[in-house]
Subunit: 233 residues, 2 copies
DNA sequence: AAGTGGTCTAGACCACTGA
DNA sequence: CAGTGGTCTAGACCACTTT
């Protein structure tokens, strides 16, 4: 009957996965409770719990107290990607990294930036524009606004030597935020700085980060036209 | 000294997080071992382990046996997104879903598709093109190739009533795969089917999935020009 | 060889939520 | 209220690496 009965949570998870793939348990079905499964698999309930917890985290099953565990109906997949510091991204391609600061001054941002950073109409913010190069070819154009009411220390930093990207990542405590990707036609500034033909669409990623309720920074990155963002499923 | 000493792993995690944010432990530093932390926080080692495990999973710390736990240098962030079935995506917008099948036939794919699906030069595959609508407005254009050597059952399915997207998600067991996002200018077919002005760039997402070593399907989705893919950090 | 993280167990109590 | 998942504990053994 039962072959190799390893009791690792990975193994238990694999067995449960298979039952779902087999359609022993179909989407929407209630599957046995943790105690039952523990007995069935001959392991501790804790181990079953670990296996199920991870399956729930990736959206394979839905769990509710008292209601039990069901195979997820909507197999929406959760994908993940690594978003590294730009320097690391360039160095991972085995190219030499360098960046150029185009702008670094404090001014009142346009309305949609004020809104994003939740600043009032007359508040200033630090506007930073720079180009990041890989082996002397423009790689990413960065257009960033920093809320200097939250990040007061940045006024003292020499951003011509350390990029804002890098400084923030290394010095600003963990934040939550959002990250949005769109396709766009680059504006004149981007076309020029990135040495593009003006007809090529590029990926634009917008990121805004927070410390608790306080906004930190919002940044738009424009990549080379052929650039891909890659995810694992 | 110690205030509210909850021993939930979330609490322990929060305390550790804070020590990193405080720069009590700076990037690159070795932090105390699990036993030490357990004693320090007055909880079981298992609880510390759980807290640290989750921090490691999101890239905040790096852990190695014997070497110990270090605060991550490269705070590369892992972002996650939900990729739902197209129907669910439309219905989440509270719009009515419908789709139209444009093509559904078996033929020898172009070379790059053969390569992606790891098929031989004379092998046929099922080519499916369709448009997915939200309230009668084109929402996504789908260009899919299915490896009928892996998914033999699909020949029997009526794909005019159930979209391939939906059928695959609900019927093909779990796969691994890759997911790539690029910006592109849509081709003629896409422009026409999506009723676009031909100058607008759109997001293209390419996904290829596998069952073990066997390729299942590769699909390119073209979204409406203003469409955003959103991630949580 | 030794130290550190990784995991399993058995038992216990808690927290949520459906009936 | 009762059943299910969520978590904590204490102790044990294992597996991986660095020394």
């Amino acid at each position: 009957m039962s072959s190799a009965r390893s009791h690792t949570w990975q193994d238990i998870q694999e067995r449960i996965r298979r039952k779902i793939e087999d359609r022993t348990w179909s989407p929407g079905d209630l599957i046995p409770g943790e105690v039952a499964l523990a007995e069935q698999f001959g392991c501790a309930r804790t181990t079953v719990n670990r296996a199920l917890r991870e399956l729930a985290a990736t959206g394979v099953i839905d769990r509710k107290r008292k209601a039990g565990t069901r195979v997820a109906m909507n197999k929406s997949r959760r994908v993940t990607a690594e978003i590294p510091v730009i320097r690391a991204q360039v160095e991972a391609l085995e190219k030499e990294y360098r960046f150029e600061l185009l702008e670094n001054r404090s001014l009142v941002p346009p309305a949609y930036i004020l809104d994003t950073l939740r600043l009032k109409a007359d508040h200033k913010a630090l506007h930073i524009r720079s180009v990041h190069y890989a082996d002397d070819k423009p790689f990413i154009y960065e257009d960033r606004w920093i809320n200097t009411r939250t990040i007061t220390q940045i006024k003292k930093i020499d951003l011509t030597h350390t990029s804002a990207n890098e400084w923030l990542v290394e010095n600003v405590p963990f934040t939550c935020g959002e990250f949005v990707v769109v396709a766009c036609m680059p504006g004149k500034r981007v076309v020029k700085a990135m040495q593009l033909s003006s007809k090529e669409p590029v990926l634009e990623s917008r990121r805004t980060t927070w410390i608790g309720q306080k906004s930190v920074t919002t940044v738009a990155l424009y990549y080379q036209p052929d650039f891909q963002i890659r995810f694992d499923i």
